[in-house]
Amino acid sequence: MERDDLIRDHEYSVAANHDEAHGVATRKSITFVTILLSVLTIVEVGIGWVISRDHSTMWAMTKIALIIMTLVKARYIVMSFMHLGEERKNLKKTIIIPYIFFMVYMITLIILLESNYVNTVILQQELVTP
């Protein structure tokens, strides 16, 4: 039986692109991403500590900022640490695009629309007529 753990494609082979010089560049980008992720985490916690969680517009804006920071962190983990940025474009698209579509409609339909319906129509009515 042929072994499937061997990499046959020479362009992809381990020795082809991964010399010492390439390693230096990779480690540099790893350091950059490490600092970025740490700083973003500290900023997130700091914001959570300073701004009080109430029903103000300030907190609503902060939430959006926190979610954007999370997506930035996720982007760097996937693209840099998981090396998806170095893979072929067709693989990148195959992995990311279906997931984003799925999440967008789940968030819109379930978290925003359906939960709002359950809250305003079902639960609030139960409070009025027990």
Binding site: Y12, V14, H18, E87
Partner: protein, 289 residues
């Protein structure tokens, strides 16, 4: 259509059936497919969490629930412990990516060093989660239900148990808190007022389980989502640590030197980074917003 079929396509853009069209090895592609399905599972959990949270309307504030730190007693350090856990996981992700990088250069010694650090980081995270769970399950004081069906929390843990409702004794240092976990204005009552309310108690509960929790009285969902989301993630961390440890043993045995590449390190690395990725989202949606 006939024009299309007669067109000759250059061989450079055709996939000849040799190797992978994605130019990625079989094992890595399968790991990516697994990660996509796992991401959908975690996505489903977080979506369900978001749905319940908005449908219920009121939700405890994470900064009030998770404000303890090991060894600091009753000091309030909101979210600092979770931030530390996040940091540990990020750093262990960094050591993993350094192991992968060393593997590309076939540097066995470095791979070994970074893999050991990754396993230690994972174990640290697991132990932190054990502490977090035990603190969450034990609670910090509990709450009483009055005859009118209102909830009042104790300001501190006075060591009461569920069985003692009738025999609980009120002392001068005790105080009751309204909305302790931040659903509405948080208000600490004076000792005399607390005594009056305390005498109308019909029920006492502290900590959390799948049916009740002190953080969101009347709504089991809060603790359920805590247990399921962080628990499912913790299970992934556990299996990740085991997988990384097994790969480390193979590295030490020299299996990958004989094979000529360290791709297995890369595959377990993908899984380990995915765990970090999930935690970034759990951290934001369960603890921060």
């Amino acid at each position: 259509m006939s024009a299309h079929s007669s067109e000759t396509i250059s061989n450079s853009v055709l996939w000849g059936g040799d190797g992978s069209p994605f130019r990625i090895s079989y094992g890595k592609l399968m790991m990516w497919l697994f990660l996509i399905s796992d991401a959908l599972t975690f996505g489903g959990l977080l979506i369900a969490y978001g749905f319940e949270r908005h449908a219920i309307g009121s939700w405890p504030l994470a900064e009030k629930v998770f404000s303890a730190f090991p060894g600091t007693g009753t000091m309030k350090l909101p979210l600092i412990y979770v931030a530390l856990m996040t940091f540990i996981l990020i750093i262990s992700s960094v050591t993993m990516v350094l192991a992968v990088e060393a593997g590309h250069r076939l540097d066995k010694k470095k791979v070994k060093k970074w893999m050991i650090l990754t396993v230690i980081g994972g174990l640290f995270f697991l132990l932190s989660q054990v502490w977090e769970w035990s603190h969450f399950i034990h609670g910090s004081g509990g709450y009483i239900t009055t005859t009118t069906g209102e909830y009042y929390h104790f300001d501190k843990d006075y060591g009461f148990h569920e069985g003692d409702v009738a025999h609980m004794e009120f002392t001068n240092e005790m105080a009751l808190v309204q909305n302790k976990y931040g659903m509405g204005e948080s208000l600490t009552l004076s000792n005399e007022e607390s005594k009056k309310i305390f005498d109308q108690r019909v029920d006492f509960f502290h900590g959390a389980n799948l049916k009740r929790n002190e953080y969101h009285p009347g709504h089991p969902q809060y603790a359920n989502f805590f247990f399921f989301i962080t628990g499912f993630h913790g299970f992934h961390v556990f299996s990740g640590v085991v997988i990384n440890f097994l790969i480390l043993l193979q590295v030490m045995k020299g299996t990958y030197d004989k094979r000529g590449h360290f791709e297995m390190v890369e595959k377990s690395g993908l899984y380990w980074h995915f765990i970090d990725l999930v935690w970034v989202f759990v951290f934001t949606f369960f603890y921060l917003v």
